[in-house]
């Protein structure tokens, strides 16, 4: 059942993108697409943006990993939680925040970086720095401090000890984190579309423009294949880096973190200032911009305007209506994703051997970009299936969102499910419990926390989902992220102001969902 679901909603659309790009007109036509105006530029821009975004995330993430994981100080946990927030924020909210920051009248308007590559790179770093910090930090915290001391007693300065001993030990974690960040950066869509507009184009946004402006589905499919190649390269890099990790590690687990010393404090402070600049400044800029009205004053006008429809040319419904659409579709997506997660995780953990690969397929949407998923669904599912005409129904939107949210939801549930001793279930069965009763009295009781947690994450992801949704949503039924992107891209102070206010609304809503979900997680931990 979950296999069929994944086949229809993920594998089939993906295969269609491949077939559509390669077949029919032949490889000559595919090559023609690659050299058509704008496309080589988009390829270069994608590589440059991904490279700079990854480099920036590493440069800030590694010192942050040291300050947040290797040395201990009061209030560290709070800062760790704050640093994790950007990763789960919707892309359009982040794009709006950096747009507000670098806009001509924004906090950093003097830098002249409005709609520039640099602004996009900053937003990408904002998103991904937490990945590097967490992955490298947990590896750093487990390093034996003795190795570094050994280097110091052999005459190495702090810097030489870091370079020759600590860095090689961190290399596998660093490589894995960088590969994942490279993947996220090269498949980033919302940030590039909103911040770069038509000026800075990547493969992702080019796919979008081919579909929405030129209705050229063949060109879009060819670009979709290019994107798949990018993803495969990044994933290959990631698994290569992981192999290195197994080779170097193998040692015992230990806690190598230590209380911060007086000598550490200036460095910790410097890292905190850098993080605050990166994370807090855009948030403040977004909030300020959402309150600003034409003429320069500040009021709630933009927020009040969210209740009225801005006019059919821009948005056929009010922003509040779009937000309600989002809540409903994301709710449905969370239910679908939750059920699918339970099914996939059960198959992966306890199913027969042949069912184990489901886990891998369910991870697919994490690697394949949301845009390619959306494109594939547009190409395949825009028709009547089993008597249901998906074209005129809005069902495609929650289905797409559920597929995008599935990988993270599965990743949350699988470890929790693995932690349940199979003998526990055997014991229940030997006491005469039917499979259903075993599930109800054991699995559900032990797993309802993690299940709620993964559904909550799916809900938050679906609320902010932009890439796939932008391909399958109907124009008269936009979701909140789509409404924000449209408002920000249209001229007119009124529209843009509303866009920023709507972005604050979405940011707060997603943040609230994540916080509630996180509370669930801590409660679950307390239970166990």
């Amino acid at each position: 059942m979950p296999a069929a679901f994944l086949a229809v909603l993920f594998v089939w659309p993906l295969a269609t993108v491949l077939a559509r790009g390669l077949a029919g007109t032949g490889t000559g036509a595919a090559l023609a697409v690659l050299v058509s105006p704008g496309v080589p530029d988009a390829l270069v821009t994608t590589v440059v943006l991904a490279g700079l975004g990854t480099a920036g995330s590493v440069v800030i993430g590694v010192p942050a990993a040291w300050a947040l994981y290797r040395v201990g100080w009061a209030g560290q946990r709070v800062v760790r939680a704050i640093v994790a927030v950007p990763f789960v924020l919707p892309t359009v909210v982040v794009a709006a925040a950096f747009g507000a920051l670098f806009a001509r009248h924004g906090v950093l308007g003097w830098a002249g970086l409005d709609h520039s590559v640099a602004a996009i790179v900053c937003a990408l770093v904002f998103f991904n720095v937490s990945v590097v910090t967490r992955v490298v930090g947990s590896s750093w915290a487990a390093l034996d401090p003795g190795t570094q001391v050994a280097a110091r007693t052999l005459g190495a300065s702090r810097w030489r000890a870091f370079r020759t001993v600590t860095l090689p030990a961190l290399a596998p974690a660093l490589g894995a984190a960088a590969a994942v960040v490279l993947l996220f950066c090269s498949t980033s869509f919302g940030v590039v579309l909103v911040l770069g507009g038509a000026r800075v184009r990547t493969v992702e946004t080019e796919i979008y423009f081919q579909v929405n402006s030129f209705l050229d589905l063949h060109a879009a499919a060819v670009l979709g294949i290019v994107q798949l190649v990018f993803v495969a390269a990044a994933l290959g890099l990631a698994s290569w880096a992981r192999r290195g990790r197994d080779r170097v590690a193998g040692g015992r687990e230990l806690d190598g973190s230590r209380p911060s010393s007086a000598a550490d404090r200036p460095w910790v402070a410097a890292v905190l200032v850098a993080l605050a600049t990166l994370i807090v400044l855009p948030a403040v800029a977004l909030l300020e911009r959402s309150l600003r009205v034409a003429g320069g004053g500040h009021s709630l006008t933009n927020y009040l305007a969210l209740f009225s429809a801005p006019g059919t040319a821009v948005l056929p419904v009010s922003v509040v209506q779009a937000a309600l659409n989002s809540l409903v579709t994301a709710g449905i997506a969370a239910v679908i994703a939750g059920a699918l997660t339970v099914a996939v995780a059960s198959a992966a953990v306890r199913g027969p051997r042949w069912a184990r690969w489901l886990d891998g397929v369910a991870m697919g949407p994490l690697g394949v970009s949301a845009v390619v998923i959306g494109l594939g669904m547009l190409l395949t599912l825009n028709r009547e299936i089993a008597g249901v005409d998906l074209r005129t129904s809005w069902w495609l939107v929650p289905l797409a969102q559920a597929i995008v949210a599935l990988p993270l939801a599965v990743r949350i549930l699988v470890p929790a499910m693995r932690a349940i001793d199979p003998r526990l279930r055997a014991a229940a069965a030997s006491l005469g419990a039917s499979p259903w009763r075993v599930w109800r009295t054991l699995d559900w009781r032990l797993l309802r926390g993690p299940i709620a947690l993964s559904a909550g994450f799916a809900f938050a992801i679906a609320m902010g989902e932009f890439g796939a949704t932008s391909f399958v949503a109907r124009p008269d039924r936009p979701t909140l992220p789509l409404a924000i992107a449209r408002l920000l891209s249209r001229p007119g102070a009124q529209n843009v102001g509303m866009g920023f206010a709507a972005a604050v609304l979405l940011g707060v809503a997603t943040g609230a969902i994540m916080l509630t979900t996180e509370r669930l997680r801590t409660r679950v931990r307390a239970d166990v």
């Binding site: 034996d144 003795g146 190795t147 001391v149 050994a150 280097a151 110091r152 007693t153 052999l154 005459g155 190495a156 300065s157 702090r158 000890a161 020759t164 001993v165 090689p168 030990a169 170097v248 040692g251 010393s261």
Partner: protein, 214 residues
Amino acid sequence: MSGLVVSQVSVTYRGRETVTAVDGVSLSVAKGEIVALLGPSGCGKSSLLAAIVGIVEPTAGTVAFDDEDVTQTPIHERGFGLVFQDGQLFPHLSVGGNVAYGIHALPRGERECRVAELLHLVGLEGLAHRAITELSGGQRQRVALARSLAPRPRLLCLDEPLSSLDAELRERLADDLRDVLTASGTTALMVTHDPSEAARVASRTLRMEAGRLI
């Protein structure tokens, strides 16, 4: 006075409760002497060693070598070597790479000669290109010893260097350790909880209990 002079050194750890691990200890090690610091686990002997090497900052007292106060000198400028209980070999370097780590400033030919000389001294000649993971526990401690001796430290500190090995190997390696230290004329201070090990290796034994010398 030449050699190591430790005066009134105290080490306290601040936490929920303040723990005084070393309480005003004074000792000296003359040049070429091998001294053992013997005591039960938790008596503060490793903390004292850490303060001498510079891993922890003493809350009071001074550490001097050849009449030069090194209490505030960073670890890598003290010229004190340290052999760890668990070796702490660099996992990404070969045996030769580990031994050469502290003498990287020497020209290449000289460096290779010194590595070969030290591997010969600890009985591991010809193993310079081995990976660390291919060594037995006893071989690892020999590499750790060679690595610490390579930069010719003016004082070599050893923190339970043999206690991670099994009993038979420990006795044999204790004799080898004494021979190597004597042959290289190294001034050494060894921390151990094993009286027979102290007797085998050291020329003089100090006893420590509850943070003080007795």
